[in-house]
C-alpha cells in the first residue's frame, strides 16, 4: 500500500509529538484572555473553543461507544480499540487520497474493514479466554493493541512515518454572528449525530439490538431466550469497531496527520470518557466524551496546552473518587 512513493518528510519547523495532530484546532489561539481585548471578542473566542471541543468530543464519542458496548456484552476493556480507530483512519485516508474514493465511500469502506477486524480480534484474542480469569483477556487485549501498532508500522503495511492527509475538500470557515465554524466541524458533528441516531434505532428498535441489551444484562438468561450469545458478541465488536473507524476517518480529515501510533491517546481519552460516563452505559459514553472534549479544548485554550491531558485525566480521577460507577452509572445493588 503506497509502496512506490517515499514517506512524506517530517516537518522541521513544527515540533510534532507522537500525539499532536491538533494543529488546525489551536492554530488560531489568541492569548487574549488576560490581555486587553476583553469583551465580545472573548465571548466569541470561548464559543469558538466550545465548538472545537464539541468536534473533539463527538469524535471521542464514536470511540467511547465501542469501549462501552464491548464492555457491556463481555465485561472486557478492549484495549486494542484505539488501534482499530487508527486502522480506520488509515483505510479512510487510503480510500480518498490514494484510491480516489469519494469521502462517504471511504468512510463506509473503512467501517467495513474495521468491523471485520473487530470480529477477528474477538475471535482470536478474546473468545478463547471468555471463561479464563479477566486478567488473561486484559493482557491479550494489550497484546493485540501492540501487535496492531507495530504491525501497521511495518514498511509494507502503513509504515512508521507520519503521513499528511490531503483533505478531500478545502476547509471553509463560516462566520455566523461573529462565531467561526468550519465545514469540517459541521461534517463531524452531523456524521456523529447521524450515527448516534442509527445506533439508538438499532439498539431499541431491532431484534439484534434487543438481543445485545439482554446479553449485556445476563448471558445465561439471554441464552435461555434463544439468543446466540456468541454471534451477538461478534455483532457488538463489529458495530463498535465500525464506529471507531468512522471516528478515525473524521479524525484524519479534521487533524490531517496520521501514523500507526495515533490511536493510543484518543483511545485512552475515549476509554476515560466511557468510564467517566459510566462504563457499559451508552448515553454515558457520549456524555463523558463531550465532557472530555470540552475539558481538553478549554484547558488548552485558556490554561495551557501542556496541562490538557493532566487535567482531563485528573477529572477522571476526581469523578471516580466521588462516583466510582461514573456519572450515569448505577450504584450496584446487592442481588437477593
Amino acid at each position: 500500500m503506497g509502496g512506490g512513493e517515499k514517506p512524506p518528510p517530517r516537518f522541521k519547523n513544527r515540533s510534532i509529538t507522537a500525539f499532536s495532530g491538533f494543529g488546525p484546532l489551536y492554530r488560531n489561539r489568541q492569548h487574549s484572555l488576560l490581555g486587553v481585548d476583553m469583551g465580545v471578542d472573548v465571548l466569541e473566542h470561548v464559543i469558538g473553543q466550545v465548538i472545537n471541543g464539541l468536534q473533539l468530543g463527538f469524535m471521542y464519542a464514536l470511540i467511547a461507544l465501542g469501549y462501552t458496548m464491548v464492555y457491556g456484552v463481555v465485561k472486557l476493556i478492549n484495549f486494542a480499540h484505539g488501534d482499530v480507530f487508527m486502522v480506520g483512519a488509515f483505510v479512510g485516508y487510503l480510500g480518498f487520497n490514494q484510491w480516489g474514493m469519494p469521502v462517504p465511500v471511504a468512510v463506509l469502506t473503512s467501517m467495513a474493514v474495521c468491523a471485520i477486524l473487530g470480529v477477528v480480534i474477538e475471535k482470536i484474542a478474546y473468545r478463547p479466554l471468555r471463561y479464563a480469569p479477566k486478567i488473561a483477556a486484559l493482557i491479550s487485549a494489550l497484546g493485540v493493541s501492540l501487535f496492531l501498532e507495530y504491525f501497521c508500522s511495518l514498511k509494507f503495511i502503513f509504515g512508521p512515518n507520519y503521513r499528511v492527509v490531503q483533505r478531500p475538500f478545502e476547509e471553509v470557515h463560516w462566520q455566523l454572528a461573529g462565531i467561526s465554524i468550519s465545514n469540517i466541524q459541521v461534517m463531524v458533528m452531523v456524521t456523529v449525530l447521524f450515527m448516534l441516531l442509527m445506533l439508538q434505532y438499532l439498539l431499541y428498535r431491532t431484534k439484534v439490538g434487543m438481543a445485545m441489551r439482554t446479553v449485556s444484562l445476563d448471558h445465561d438468561a439471554a441464552r435461555l431466550m434463544g439468543v446466540n450469545v456468541d454471534s451477538v458478541i461478534s455483532v457488538t465488536f463489529a458495530i463498535g469497531s465500525a464506529l471507531a473507524a468512522a471516528g478515525g476517518v473524521l479524525y484524519a480529515i479534521a487533524y490531517p496527520q496520521i501514523q500507526p501510533f495515533m490511536g493510543i491517546m484518543p483511545g485512552l481519552k475515549a476509554f476515560t470518557a466511557a468510564v467517566l460516563g459510566g462504563i457499559g452505559i451508552i448515553p454515558g459514553a457520549v456524555l463523558g466524551a463531550l465532557i472530555m472534549g470540552q475539558v481538553e479544548t478549554l484547558t488548552a485554550a485558556f490554561l495551557s496546552s501542556q496541562l490538557r491531558d493532566a487535567i482531563a485525566f485528573g477529572i477522571l480521577i476526581l469523578v471516580l473518587l466521588v462516583r466510582p460507577c461514573g456519572i450515569l452509572g448505577k450504584t450496584e445493588t446487592e442481588k437477593v
Binding site: 434487543m210 445476563d218 445465561d220 441464552r223 435461555l224 431466550m225 434463544g226 446466540n228 442481588k335
Partner: protein
Amino acid sequence: MLAVDNIQVFYGAIQALHGISFEVKEGEIVTLIGANGAGKSTTLRTISGLLRPKSGTVKFDGMDITRVPAHKIVKMGLAHVPEGRKIFPDLTVRENLIMGAYTRTDRTETAVTLEHVFQRFPRLKEREKQFAGTLSGGEQQMLAMGRGLMCKPKLLILDEPSMGLSPILVEDIFKIIKEINQLGTTILLVEQNAFMALQIAHRAYVLETGKVMLAGSAAELREDPKVRSAYLGDVVDIA
C-alpha cells in the same frame, strides 16, 4: 418427552451430579425435590444446555440434545424459567415478554401469545411499560413465567418458582402452574417447597447430593416416611 440418562456434571474438579436419570412424559407435571445443593438447578441447567455433562445423555422429543447449544434447544420447544427469575431489569415488561418469543418469526401469532400471557397475568398488562426491575418479587416471577410461555414451549422448566414469595402468592403461582399444565404444556418443576410441589405434580424424584434417591408418584412420595421427615417438615416418630 424428556429423558435424562445417567448424566454426570462437574464444576471444575467438583462433581455435582453423579449419574442422574429420570424422565418426563407428555402432559405430566414432574417435580424434582431435594435440599440445597442436591443438584436440582444443575440438572435443569444441563437439560437446557447451559452446562455440558461429562457423560450421559439428554433426549428431548426423541432427539439427543446433549450437545446442542442452549439457544437452539429453546427453538425446539423447551423453555427454562431459571432460578432467581433472571428477568431483564433494564427492559420493560413488554420487552421482556417479546424477548421470550425471540426464536419465533411469526409476528401475528406471537401477538396472540402475548395477549394470552396478558390474560393469564393481568398484572403484567397493567405494568406493560414499566421497567421489569421495578416489579415486586411476585410480579417478577409472573413475568419470568410469562416470558417462558412466549415461545409456546412443549416443555416448561420451572426452577424454584415459589422462592421468596409470600404464602398467598405461592398458592397463586402453583394454581397457575397447574392451569398451564391442563392447557397442554408439560412441566418439569424444581422446588424446595416440596409440600406444594407434591400437591400439583403427577410424579416426583427426590435428589440428594447429585443422585436420585427416590422416585414415584407424587401421592406415594407424600406418604413416604423419609420424604415426610426430610422435606415435609414432619416431626413425628423420631423414636
